[in-house]
Symmetry: C2
């Protein structure tokens, strides 16, 4: 329908592609080095079938990355970043945390496949919102200015990643982590009363 040059894929083929992508996202989010065999098995298809849809492991990882990026970008785009920087950051963190926890190590898998330039562009696109919000918070006196912005961004990312690890370890629940990430990051960004 879309293009008549390519013979429309059969229904089960489309279903399998979806299964493969779903399984790949789930497994790559835990272990970036998972084998194609395991992904195919988890998707309920044969390894050869997987290769019928994705010419190589790299292509699969790339497809997964694109899917994760699109999903992430869409979710973050819906966040209201206006108003008090602290409140906006709280909202942004809540959404970002869910995404980080859900996709986790996919980034690591992607870093081995995508070119550094592609990685930079993706990271840029996702970090842009946080970056802009941190800048605004600093300008408006809500966030401390005695640290580099890049450091503050790195801290946010580190806390998110650490929260994901803590949940996987069973130290805290996902719901608790939502609150803890927010409070911890806001405390780290807040202007010190002793200054």
């Amino acid at each position: 329908m879309a293009a008549e040059g390519v013979t429309a894929k059969r229904a089960d083929a489309r279903r399998n592609v979806e299964s493969i992508l779903d399984a790949a996202v789930a497994l790559l989010a835990i272990d970036p080095g998972v084998s194609v065999n395991e992904i195919a098995k988890a998707a309920g298809v044969g390894r050869v079938t997987l290769y019928g849809h994705f010419p190589s492991r790299a292509a699969l990882v790339e497809a997964v990355s694109l899917r994760v990026i699109a999903s992430t970008d869409q979710a973050l785009g819906a966040i209201d970043l206006e108003g008090d920087p602290r409140d906006a950051m709280a909202r942004l963190l809540e959404a970002t945390w869910r995404l980080t926890h859900r996709f986790g190590a996919v980034v690591i898998a992607a870093s081995g496949v995508l070119t550094p330039e592609e990685m930079r562009r993706v990271h840029e696109g996702l970090a842009r919102r946080v970056h802009a919000l941190v800048e605004r918070g600093r300008d408006e006196g809500a966030f401390r200015r005695d640290m580099p912005v890049v450091w503050q961004l790195a801290t946010i990312q580190a806390v998110l990643h650490g929260a994901s690890a803590a949940v996987h370890r069973g130290d805290v629940t996902t719901d608790d982590a939502t609150r803890l990430v927010r409070d911890t990051v806001l405390a780290a960004l807040a202007v010190t009363s002793s200054a």
Copy 2:
């Protein structure tokens, strides 16, 4: 000399073992999956020579782990943890940061070789000091109590790890990171003035 049961190793053999361990620590701290070949090459010895001293890759990683653990334990044991919890935490963080940055990913390599029980014991030994200090700080009203201790420990670890990544990325210098880690962690642990 030490024991007459074993024939004393030759001088160059001892030197080579040291070279191998040094190279292994350096390489494993960057890439936990580095090959034996690369380690041997970096140490300036043949791969077979390496296998002459360490029966397997796992044995090498274990030896490296033990060396790192001993070095870490000794360095942290020299820290004065008395006095104001904030000051003590600052001192502890400074030392821990240097170790984290120096050894980094060795932990990841070790996790694939050491048994979970061994890993737990090692982690316990290293986290014990931080844990005790956080507890004391909470009891004395210096650190906030509206977060689980395990979360606060996870946060500290996350910031340290993130700092190491930031330095490797070139976002901040090692010296800056020392100060930033301290200030960020203390801000995250501090009791909120708004509460």
